[in-house]
Amino acid sequence: MTTRPDSTTPPAPMSGTPEFLAGDEYQIPTWCVLGEDGRPLEGAQAPDIERDKARRIYEAMLATRVMDERMMAAQRQGRLSFYMQCTGEEAAVVGATAALDDADMIMAQYREQGALVYRGFSFDEFMNQMFGNELDYGKGRQMPVHYGSRKLHYMTISSPLGTQIPQATGYAYGQKLAGNGLCTLVFFGEGAASEGDFHAALNMAAVHEAPVIFFCRNNGYAISTPTVEQFAADGVAPRALGYRMHVIRIDGNDILAVYRATEEARRIAVEHNKPVLIEAMTYRLAAHSSSDDPSGYRSRKEEEAWREKDPILRMKRWLIERDWWSDDEENTRQDELRREVLETMKRAEKRPPSDLGTLVSDVYADVTPALQRQLDALTAHVRRYPDAYPRGASSLDPDVKNSADVTTDQGGA
C-alpha cells in the first residue's frame, strides 16, 4: 500500500497540561436581517431581492398557508386520511428554495410543500397525490403529503426519518462529477438530525467534498419531544465543527436571512464543492400532523408568543413597507387561493384510483412472472367479490371508471 504524505490528519500542537474542553465553548449566534416589524435591523446585510422575486416568494408562502389550512380542515371533515402542515416554517422552506437554482435537487423530509409551491407544483398535482387518484404521480402508493416531481427536481418523500440526508450527499457527489454546476439541498428537522444517517451524511459530505446544503429546520419539537430532550448541545449547528464544515445559524422566520444564507451556502457548495450546514431556528405553529394534539405537551402561551413571530406576517410588513404588496391584494389573493384549493380538491377526490395493475408495477423495472401470477390471482378474486373491493373492482370495470368526473390530464411529472 502506498502512503501519501498528506493522507493522515495533520498533527495538532502538543500541550503539557491535561485540559478538557466541556463542549460548550462555542455558542453559535443566530443571524437575523429583518426585525419583527418588517424593517431591516440596523446595519444588517440585506440580500438583493427584486420586486418580482419577492412577490413570487411571498405568494408561495401564502399559497402554502392557505392550502395547509384548507387541507387540515378537509382532514377534520373526514375527506382526507392524513395531513401535515408547514405552518410557521414557510419562510425557512420557501426562502431556501428561492435562493437555489430551480434545477438544483431538493430532498425534503415531509413538511416542505412550500418548496414545491414555489417551483410551480399546481394545486391539482398536490390534490392528486393527497387523494391518491389515478393522476397521482406516485400512483396512490403513499400516504398524503409524500409528493415528488421529476420535472421540478423534488425527490419523492419517504417517511423514514433522515434517510434522505446521506442520499443527498450521494446525489450531490454525482452532480459534482457531472460538472453541471448544480447542487442538492436537503431539508430535515432537528429531531431527524439525531438519526445515524445524519452523521453519516455530514461526515461523508465533508470527506468527499459534495456540493450539498444541509438545511435543518429546528422547529422546537419532534412530535411532542422538545429540543432539550433531543440534544444536550447548543442545537444542531455546532456538529458541523466536528466534521469541519461551513455552518450558519439563522432566524428561520426571517425571509431575508434565510434567502441570503442559502444563496451564500449555494455559492460555497457549487464553487468550492464544500458542504454547508444551515440551522434555521423556527417554530412548528401547527400540530406535528393531523393525528397529533399539541395541547398535551406545550402551552397556548408559548404558541401565542410564536404567532407574533409569524414569518408570513413579517415578510408582508416588509413588502408593504416597500410598496410591493397591499392588504387589498392580500385579501383578493387569499380568496382566489381558497377557491382554487376547494375546486381542485373537489376534482381530485372524484377521480378513480390507479388501476389494480399498479399494485405490481414498478416493484422492478419489469413485472416478474411471479408478480404477474399474483396479480392474475388477485384480479380473479376481485372479480368474484367486487363489492368487497370497490376500488380495485372499478378499475377492472370500465363502466364504473367512466362514470367519474374526469377532467383534463395533468401531464408529465
Binding site: 502506498t2 397521482d136 406516485g138 425527490m155 457527489y173 457531472a178 444517517d197 461523508m204 423495472a365 412472472p369
Partner: protein
C-alpha cells in the same frame, strides 16, 4: 481462455464496467488504493482516479445512503460492504429506500443503477461476524434483486449483468471461494442472465438446489450419491430474488424429489420458500418430502464450524433419505 480465480474475475468485471461507462463508481471501506481487504478492487483507483474509486468512512448506512443518492441521480454506484455480516447498519437504507425507490415514486425516480457487493459465508474460521449468509433477510423485500455466483466464470458474467441491470442488486460473493475457486474465464465482456437458475448437472432421481459456495459442496455429495447409483439433477439458483421457480418446478416434476441446501440457519431460510412453492406446484408428483440441509438455528460458530456447516456428507445423507423414503 485464461485461468483465474474469483477475485480476479470480479476485478475484471469491475474494470470492464468502469472502462465502458464514466458513471460507474466503486467505493467502500478500504476499496481505494488498497484495493479492498480481499483485493477485489485492485488497481481501479490507479486506472480511474480517486473521484471514481475511493475509500469511504466506516459507515455502512452512509455507504448505502450515498449509493442510493448517486443511483437516483443517474450514476452507477458499485458499492462494497466489507463483509455481509456488517450490512445491517444499512438495513434501513436497503429495505426502506433502495427497494422502494421506484415503487413509491411511481417510477419518477429509481436506484436501478445500484449494485452492492458483499463477501458472505463461512468456512474461513471467521466466527459469528465474518461468516453469515444474510440472503433470506433481503429475499423478504420486494424491489431488491439478490445474486450469488458459484465460480469465477459466473461471477464475472453475473456481476456485469448486475451492474447493467435496471434494478438494484445485492451481489453476495462466496468469500471461501475467492481464491479457492479457479477456472477458465473469457477476457472479453459477457453477461449471464439474472433471474434464471442454471441446471449444472442433469439427472433423474432427485433434484438438488443450492447457490454460491454450496454448489461445490453439492458436487461432492453428488459424486457419493452417483456411486450409490442415484442419478442427481443439480440446479444453481444464481438469483435468489426474484427467483426462477419454473426451472426448479420443471426439474422436480421430472425427479419427484428435492433437496435444498444453504449455509444460513434453517428457520426462515430461503430453502423454506422453495419447499413451500414446490409443494404448491408439484404436490402430486412428489415421491418424498422436500428435504433441507442447512446451518443450525444458532449464531455461526467458530471452532465447531465444520460440524455446523451443511457439508457433502450431510447432503449425501439427505439424498439417500429422500430416495429411500
Amino acid at each position: 481462455m485464461p485461468n483465474m480465480n474469483m477475485l480476479q474475475a470480479i476485478n475484471q468485471a469491475l474494470d470492464i464496467a468502469m472502462a465502458e461507462d464514466d458513471k460507474v463508481l466503486c467505493f467502500g471501506e478500504d476499496v481505494g488504493s488498497f484495493g479492498g481487504v480481499f483485493r477485489a478492487t485492485s488497481h481501479l483507483q490507479e486506472k480511474y482516479g480517486h473521484a471514481r474509486c475511493f475509500n469511504t468512512p466506516i459507515v455502512e448506512q452512509g455507504i448505502v445512503g450515498f449509493a442510493n443518492g448517486l443511483a437516483s441521480q443517474g450514476s452507477v454506484p458499485v458499492a462494497e460492504i466489507q463483509f455481509a455480516d456488517y450490512i445491517f447498519p444499512a438495513f434501513d437504507q436497503l429495505v426502506n429506500e433502495t427497494a422502494k425507490f421506484r415503487y413509491r415514486s411511481g417510477d419518477l425516480f429509481n436506484v436501478g443503477g445500484l449494485t452492492l457487493r458483499a463477501p458472505y459465508g463461512g468456512g474461513i474460521a471467521g466466527g459469528h461476524y465474518h461468516s453469515q449468509s444474510p440472503e433470506a433477510y433481503f429475499a423478504h423485500t420486494p424491489g431488491l434483486k439478490i445474486v450469488i455466483p458459484r465460480n469465477p466464470y459466473e461471477a464475472k458474467g453475473l456481476l456485469l449483468a448486475s451492474i447493467r441491470d435496471p434494478d438494484p442488486v445485492l451481489f453476495f460473493e462466496p468469500k471461501r471461494l475467492y481464491r479457492a475457486s479457479t477456472g477458465e474465464v473469457p477476457e472479453e465482456d459477457y453477461q449471464l442472465p439474472l433471474g434464471e437458475a442454471a441446471v449444472t448437472r442433469e439427472g433423474s432421481d432427485v433434484t438438488l438446489v443450492g447457490w454460491g459456495a454450496q454448489m461445490e459442496v453439492i458436487e461432492r455429495a453428488v459424486e457419493l450419491a452417483e456411486k450409490d447409483g442415484i442419478s442427481c439433477e443439480v440446479i444453481d439458483l444464481r438469483t435468489i430474488l426474484p427467483w426462477d421457480e419454473d426451472t426448479i418446478v420443471d426439474s422436480v416434476l421430472k425427479t419427484g424429489r428435492l433437496v435444498v441446501t444453504h449455509e444460513a440457519p434453517r428457520t426462515g431460510g430461503f430453502a423454506g420458500e422453495i419447499a413451500a412453492t414446490v409443494q404448491e406446484r408439484c404436490f402430486l408428483y412428489l415421491e418424498s418430502p422436500v428435504m433441507r440441509v442447512t446451518g443450525l438455528d444458532t449464531p455461526f460458530p467458530q471452532t465447531l464450524e465444520k460440524e455446523y456447516l451443511p457439508d457433502h456428507l450431510k447432503i449425501h445423507e439427505a439424498i439417500r433419505a429422500s430416495v429411500n423414503f
